[in-house]
């Protein structure tokens, strides 16, 4: 494991009486790619904003890695805070000055160009997002925080966005921390998955380990009651049980057929399991 680039140390954030983050700790390594998933209102975006310095937590702190310059933390969202009346050229000039960027031109996004004379307010949501990404690339980011923007892009722009992030990871060893509901939107980029619920991190696993540890049993096959069922869906015609953490030796002798499932379904099972627990309380 390489050096941490950002560490969240027992972060608590309250909005009035609601606790959005409840003592969250997590360490992010230089150059790694992480996806944060979870139910609506789980605290994902709040965590990301704390990491980016946009929210100061009520308790706890965010510790930057040694020598990390704040200007090298980029936060991509589709709510670009620039004057709507500016042209792209003016916005770039402002951004350059703001961050002391030496580069003369805005870094290009392969396969995507915008007329520099257009105004911010005339950009579509997707164009804004990619424009914002190119501004941030000029900061040569050590960390890219990406808040739920990928799913709002059309398939063409999504490819351009992901390719650009991949290029930064390769060239600049940028760490990518992205919030997303649908993991397949993030292709195969994240190596690590965090799942949040109720302001806490309920799961933090390497992608491959997670895939090995969650299995599905379809149908009514009996299996020992000691097996940990994470979540169950049942209707008249179909019953699925999700097992976590799964152990290989259960394949023999338990009488049930365990099938591998993809990440989207795994995340669904964790979120579903968390909803069931909440209802039971």
């Amino acid at each position: 494991m390489s050096d941490p680039i950002l560490t969240a140390d027992k972060l608590t954030v309250r909005y009035g009486r609601r606790t959005a983050l409840d003592g969250v700790s997590a360490t992010f390594a230089a150059g790694e790619a992480v996806v944060i998933a979870g139910s609506n209102g789980a605290g994902k975006s709040t965590l990301l904003r704390c990491l980016g310095g946009a929210i100061i937590p009520d308790l706890g702190r965010v510790v930057p890695g040694p020598g990390l310059d704040r200007a090298r933390i980029g936060f991509v969202s589709d709510r670009l805070s620039l004057y709507e009346n500016w042209t792209l050229r003016e916005a770039w000039r402002f951004h350059r000055k703001e961050f002391g960027i030496a580069a003369a031109g805005r870094p290009p996004i392969e396969g995507f160009t915008l007329d520099e004379g257009r105004r911010i307010r005339h950009l579509s949501v997707g164009e804004r997002t990619l424009f914002h990404l190119s501004l941030i690339l000029a900061q040569r980011p050590a960390v890219l925080l990406i808040d739920e923007v990928v799913h709002g892009l059309d398939p063409f722009l999504r490819e351009r966005f992901l390719e650009t992030a991949i290029g930064a990871m390769d060239e600049l060893k940028t760490a990518v921390i992205m919030v997303n509901h649908i993991l397949s939107d993030t292709a195969e980029i994240p190596e690590r998955v965090l799942i949040m619920d109720g302001g806490q991190v309920i799961l933090d696993e390497r992608r491959e380990d997670l895939m090995a540890k969650v299995k599905k049993v379809a149908g009514d096959a009996a299996f020992p009651p000691s097996l940990p069922v994470l979540f169950e869906t049942a209707s008249e015609y179909r019953r699925d049980r999700y097992i976590y953490p799964f152990r290989e030796e259960w394949r023999r002798g338990s009488g049930a057929a365990f099938t591998d499932i993809g990440l989207d379904e795994i995340v669904k099972a964790f979120i579903g399991g968390a909803y069931v627990q909440k209802r039971a309380r």
Partner: protein, 124 residues
Amino acid sequence: MLRLNVDPASPVPAYQQVIQAVSIEIISGRLKEGDRLPPIRELAKILKLNPNTVAKAYYALEENGLIESRPGSGNWVKPRPPDLDSLRRSMLEAETKAYLEQALSLGASLEDVRSSIERIARHE
């Protein structure tokens, strides 16, 4: 052009899918001795993979003796992979096993399966 694909919905880890796909290209002869593999960054972009994933797959392919990495000039298909036949056989066996399980689960007999394969092979 390489016929490489990675299925993000598949439960098979992406780096294993890359290893398998590149192995198939080499075993089939579509990638030949002295051919250069796409640079890590390019393959990562094409397949929307983490560059580390591609690097890990290339490293495993090197361990398997299929490719070699030349510092500064990328990854190249090695002259005559040592165990081409046994590799081909083991991959064929894995494919056959998966197919056979599916076919037998339909209630077909081994004889049905054999004659079905022969019939289809004749027509193609």
